[in-house]
Protein backbone atom coordinates (compact mmCIF):
# COMPACT_ATOMS: atom_id res chain seq x y z
CA UNK A 1 0.00 0.00 0.00
CA UNK A 2 1.43 3.30 -1.03
CA UNK A 3 1.58 6.37 1.12
CA UNK A 4 -1.17 7.91 -0.99
CA UNK A 5 -3.40 4.87 -0.48
CA UNK A 6 -2.86 4.99 3.25
CA UNK A 7 -3.65 8.68 3.31
CA UNK A 8 -6.76 8.06 1.23
CA UNK A 9 -7.92 5.29 3.53
CA UNK A 10 -7.30 7.37 6.58
CA UNK A 11 -9.09 10.39 5.19
CA UNK A 12 -11.95 8.34 3.87
CA UNK A 13 -12.47 6.25 6.97
CA UNK A 14 -12.09 9.26 9.17
CA UNK A 15 -14.89 11.04 7.43
CA UNK A 16 -17.36 8.17 7.34
CA UNK A 17 -19.51 9.45 10.17
CA UNK A 18 -20.15 12.88 8.80
CA UNK A 19 -19.71 12.46 5.10
CA UNK A 20 -22.69 13.44 3.03
CA UNK A 21 -21.57 10.80 0.58
CA UNK A 22 -23.06 8.08 2.71
CA UNK A 23 -26.30 6.70 1.39
CA UNK A 24 -28.62 5.04 3.82
CA UNK A 25 -30.15 2.21 1.88
CA UNK A 26 -31.78 0.39 4.74
CA UNK A 27 -35.03 1.25 6.36
CA UNK A 28 -35.74 0.91 10.02
CA UNK A 29 -37.62 -2.24 10.74
CA UNK A 30 -41.01 -1.46 12.23
CA UNK A 31 -41.24 -1.60 15.96
CA UNK A 32 -43.85 -3.82 17.45
CA UNK A 33 -46.43 -2.17 19.61
CA UNK A 34 -48.87 -3.87 21.85
CA UNK A 35 -52.47 -3.00 21.59
CA UNK A 36 -54.48 -1.75 24.47
CA UNK A 37 -53.71 0.53 27.31
CA UNK A 38 -49.98 -0.07 27.54
CA UNK A 39 -49.37 1.37 24.11
CA UNK A 40 -48.75 4.87 25.36
CA UNK A 41 -46.16 3.78 27.86
CA UNK A 42 -42.49 3.12 27.64
CA UNK A 43 -41.98 -0.59 27.62
CA UNK A 44 -44.78 -1.32 25.23
CA UNK A 45 -42.29 -2.01 22.50
CA UNK A 46 -40.02 -5.01 22.20
CA UNK A 47 -36.37 -5.21 21.19
CA UNK A 48 -36.08 -5.26 17.43
CA UNK A 49 -33.28 -5.88 15.01
CA UNK A 50 -32.32 -3.11 12.65
CA UNK A 51 -30.13 -3.54 9.63
CA UNK A 52 -28.58 -0.63 7.85
CA UNK A 53 -26.68 -0.86 4.66
CA UNK A 54 -24.30 1.98 4.06
CA UNK A 55 -23.12 2.26 0.51
CA UNK A 56 -19.62 3.55 0.21
CA UNK A 57 -18.90 6.08 -2.46
CA UNK A 58 -15.28 6.64 -3.18
CA UNK A 59 -14.19 9.97 -4.38
CA UNK A 60 -10.67 10.49 -5.54
CA UNK A 61 -9.35 13.94 -5.12
Amino acid sequence: MSADDRRFDREYLGSMETSSKIEELGELLPQAETSGKTKQYYGARKPARRTRKIKLIYERR
Binding site: Q31, K46, P47, R52
Partner: protein, 191 residues
Amino acid sequence: MSDADPGPQLADRISQGDILRDVEYVEHVTEEDGAIVVSDILFPLVVVLTQDCDLEQDAKCRTAEPPPKTQDKRLFSVLVAPLYNIEHVYQGEHLSDLGITGEQVPRKGNAGHYLLTNQRPRFHYLELPPETKIVPSVVDFKHYFSVDAGYLRGVRETNLVYSLPVPYREDICQRFASFLSRIGLPGAHPE
Protein backbone atom coordinates in the same frame (compact mmCIF):
# COMPACT_ATOMS: atom_id res chain seq x y z
CA MET B 1 -33.45 10.79 50.38
CA SER B 2 -31.89 13.73 52.21
CA ASP B 3 -31.24 17.20 50.84
CA ALA B 4 -27.54 16.47 50.95
CA ASP B 5 -27.98 13.56 48.62
CA PRO B 6 -29.49 14.82 45.40
CA GLY B 7 -29.71 11.26 44.16
CA PRO B 8 -28.93 9.99 40.76
CA GLN B 9 -31.85 11.86 39.21
CA LEU B 10 -29.90 15.09 39.34
CA ALA B 11 -26.52 13.73 38.35
CA ASP B 12 -25.17 15.17 35.13
CA ARG B 13 -23.38 11.95 34.27
CA ILE B 14 -24.27 8.36 33.61
CA SER B 15 -25.27 6.82 36.91
CA GLN B 16 -25.87 3.34 38.15
CA GLY B 17 -29.60 2.72 38.01
CA ASP B 18 -30.22 5.06 35.07
CA ILE B 19 -33.01 3.80 32.87
CA LEU B 20 -32.66 4.86 29.27
CA ARG B 21 -34.81 4.26 26.26
CA ASP B 22 -33.80 3.29 22.74
CA VAL B 23 -30.29 2.03 23.31
CA GLU B 24 -28.57 0.26 20.46
CA TYR B 25 -26.57 -2.91 20.73
CA VAL B 26 -24.37 -3.43 17.68
CA GLU B 27 -24.46 -7.09 16.74
CA HIS B 28 -21.96 -6.95 13.92
CA VAL B 29 -20.56 -4.81 11.17
CA THR B 30 -19.69 -6.51 7.90
CA GLU B 31 -18.79 -5.53 4.39
CA GLU B 32 -20.82 -6.78 1.45
CA ASP B 33 -20.07 -5.81 -2.11
CA GLY B 34 -18.59 -2.51 -1.19
CA ALA B 35 -21.26 -1.63 1.33
CA ILE B 36 -21.05 -1.60 5.09
CA VAL B 37 -23.81 -3.59 6.73
CA VAL B 38 -24.59 -2.70 10.32
CA SER B 39 -26.87 -4.96 12.28
CA ASP B 40 -27.98 -3.80 15.66
CA ILE B 41 -30.72 -4.41 18.15
CA LEU B 42 -32.68 -1.49 19.47
CA PHE B 43 -33.62 -2.06 23.08
CA PRO B 44 -36.58 0.08 24.15
CA LEU B 45 -35.39 0.24 27.77
CA VAL B 46 -32.17 -0.63 29.60
CA VAL B 47 -30.87 -0.10 33.11
CA VAL B 48 -27.26 0.83 33.88
CA LEU B 49 -25.47 -1.73 36.08
CA THR B 50 -21.88 -0.52 36.12
CA GLN B 51 -20.59 0.43 39.56
CA ASP B 52 -21.49 4.03 40.32
CA CYS B 53 -18.06 4.85 41.74
CA ASP B 54 -16.53 3.78 38.44
CA LEU B 55 -18.96 5.97 36.56
CA GLU B 56 -18.19 8.87 38.86
CA GLN B 57 -14.43 8.46 38.41
CA ASP B 58 -14.91 8.21 34.67
CA ALA B 59 -16.87 11.46 34.61
CA LYS B 60 -14.34 13.24 36.80
CA CYS B 61 -11.51 12.03 34.64
CA ARG B 62 -13.16 13.43 31.55
CA THR B 63 -14.26 16.77 32.92
CA ALA B 64 -11.61 17.74 35.46
CA GLU B 65 -9.85 21.06 34.99
CA PRO B 66 -6.96 20.95 34.67
CA PRO B 67 -7.05 17.53 33.03
CA PRO B 68 -5.63 14.78 35.25
CA LYS B 69 -2.15 13.48 34.55
CA THR B 70 -3.46 9.94 34.16
CA GLN B 71 -6.58 8.82 32.36
CA ASP B 72 -6.70 5.18 33.33
CA LYS B 73 -10.02 5.57 35.15
CA ARG B 74 -11.84 6.24 31.93
CA LEU B 75 -14.30 3.54 30.99
CA PHE B 76 -14.50 1.97 27.58
CA SER B 77 -17.97 0.62 28.08
CA VAL B 78 -20.92 0.57 30.43
CA LEU B 79 -22.82 -2.54 31.46
CA VAL B 80 -26.56 -2.46 30.95
CA ALA B 81 -29.40 -4.98 30.99
CA PRO B 82 -32.69 -4.76 29.14
CA LEU B 83 -36.10 -4.21 30.69
CA TYR B 84 -38.96 -6.20 29.28
CA ASN B 85 -42.65 -5.55 29.63
CA ILE B 86 -43.79 -8.14 32.15
CA GLU B 87 -46.94 -8.78 30.13
CA HIS B 88 -44.72 -9.87 27.25
CA VAL B 89 -42.59 -11.97 29.59
CA TYR B 90 -45.64 -13.81 30.89
CA GLN B 91 -46.42 -14.79 27.33
CA GLY B 92 -42.82 -15.58 26.43
CA GLU B 93 -43.09 -13.04 23.62
CA HIS B 94 -40.78 -10.30 24.82
CA LEU B 95 -38.21 -11.19 22.14
CA SER B 96 -40.61 -12.20 19.41
CA ASP B 97 -39.44 -9.41 17.12
CA LEU B 98 -36.01 -11.03 17.17
CA GLY B 99 -37.43 -14.43 16.30
CA ILE B 100 -36.84 -15.70 19.83
CA THR B 101 -39.50 -17.51 21.78
CA GLY B 102 -39.33 -17.29 25.54
CA GLU B 103 -40.49 -19.58 28.26
CA GLN B 104 -44.02 -18.76 29.29
CA VAL B 105 -44.46 -17.78 32.90
CA PRO B 106 -47.90 -18.53 34.32
CA ARG B 107 -49.25 -15.35 35.83
CA LYS B 108 -50.72 -17.21 38.76
CA GLY B 109 -49.12 -19.84 40.89
CA ASN B 110 -45.58 -20.18 42.11
CA ALA B 111 -43.84 -19.19 38.90
CA GLY B 112 -45.60 -15.85 38.66
CA HIS B 113 -45.22 -15.24 42.36
CA TYR B 114 -41.49 -15.96 42.29
CA LEU B 115 -41.06 -13.56 39.39
CA LEU B 116 -42.88 -10.72 41.11
CA THR B 117 -41.09 -11.22 44.42
CA ASN B 118 -37.62 -11.43 42.89
CA GLN B 119 -37.06 -15.00 43.92
CA ARG B 120 -35.74 -15.97 40.50
CA PRO B 121 -32.05 -14.99 40.36
CA ARG B 122 -32.12 -14.30 36.64
CA PHE B 123 -34.87 -11.69 36.76
CA HIS B 124 -35.53 -8.46 38.60
CA TYR B 125 -39.05 -7.13 38.75
CA LEU B 126 -39.51 -3.37 38.77
CA GLU B 127 -42.53 -1.22 39.40
CA LEU B 128 -41.70 2.39 38.77
CA PRO B 129 -43.61 5.56 39.66
CA PRO B 130 -46.58 6.29 37.39
CA GLU B 131 -45.06 9.53 36.15
CA THR B 132 -42.30 7.56 34.48
CA LYS B 133 -44.91 5.95 32.23
CA ILE B 134 -42.93 2.74 32.34
CA VAL B 135 -45.02 -0.37 32.50
CA PRO B 136 -44.22 -2.99 35.16
CA SER B 137 -41.05 -4.51 33.84
CA VAL B 138 -38.59 -7.30 34.32
CA VAL B 139 -34.82 -6.93 33.98
CA ASP B 140 -33.25 -10.04 32.51
CA PHE B 141 -29.71 -10.27 33.90
CA LYS B 142 -28.77 -12.96 31.42
CA HIS B 143 -29.17 -10.49 28.58
CA TYR B 144 -26.72 -7.91 29.90
CA PHE B 145 -24.46 -6.25 27.38
CA SER B 146 -21.95 -3.46 27.19
CA VAL B 147 -22.40 -0.15 25.45
CA ASP B 148 -19.74 2.26 24.38
CA ALA B 149 -19.42 4.84 27.13
CA GLY B 150 -19.27 7.79 24.76
CA TYR B 151 -22.33 6.63 22.89
CA LEU B 152 -24.26 6.20 26.11
CA ARG B 153 -23.31 9.67 27.32
CA GLY B 154 -24.81 11.10 24.16
CA VAL B 155 -27.93 8.99 24.39
CA ARG B 156 -28.47 9.94 28.02
CA GLU B 157 -28.94 13.61 27.16
CA THR B 158 -32.20 12.86 25.41
CA ASN B 159 -33.20 9.35 26.42
CA LEU B 160 -32.96 9.26 30.19
CA VAL B 161 -36.35 8.13 31.44
CA TYR B 162 -35.71 7.58 35.12
CA SER B 163 -32.94 6.90 37.58
CA LEU B 164 -33.46 4.37 40.32
CA PRO B 165 -32.98 5.93 43.74
CA VAL B 166 -31.16 4.42 46.67
CA PRO B 167 -31.63 1.67 47.86
CA TYR B 168 -33.35 0.22 44.78
CA ARG B 169 -30.33 0.65 42.56
CA GLU B 170 -28.14 -1.12 45.12
CA ASP B 171 -30.67 -3.91 45.32
CA ILE B 172 -30.72 -4.52 41.60
CA CYS B 173 -26.93 -4.33 41.29
CA GLN B 174 -26.33 -6.66 44.18
CA ARG B 175 -28.71 -9.18 42.67
CA PHE B 176 -26.96 -8.79 39.31
CA ALA B 177 -23.58 -9.42 40.90
CA SER B 178 -24.95 -12.47 42.64
CA PHE B 179 -26.37 -13.78 39.39
CA LEU B 180 -23.08 -13.24 37.56
CA SER B 181 -21.07 -15.01 40.23
CA ARG B 182 -23.30 -18.05 40.45
CA ILE B 183 -21.69 -21.43 40.08
CA GLY B 184 -23.23 -23.89 37.70
CA LEU B 185 -23.02 -27.33 39.19
CA PRO B 186 -22.85 -30.51 37.10
CA GLY B 187 -26.28 -31.92 36.59
CA ALA B 188 -28.00 -28.77 37.71
CA HIS B 189 -29.96 -26.64 35.35
CA PRO B 190 -29.24 -23.01 36.20
CA GLU B 191 -31.16 -20.43 34.25
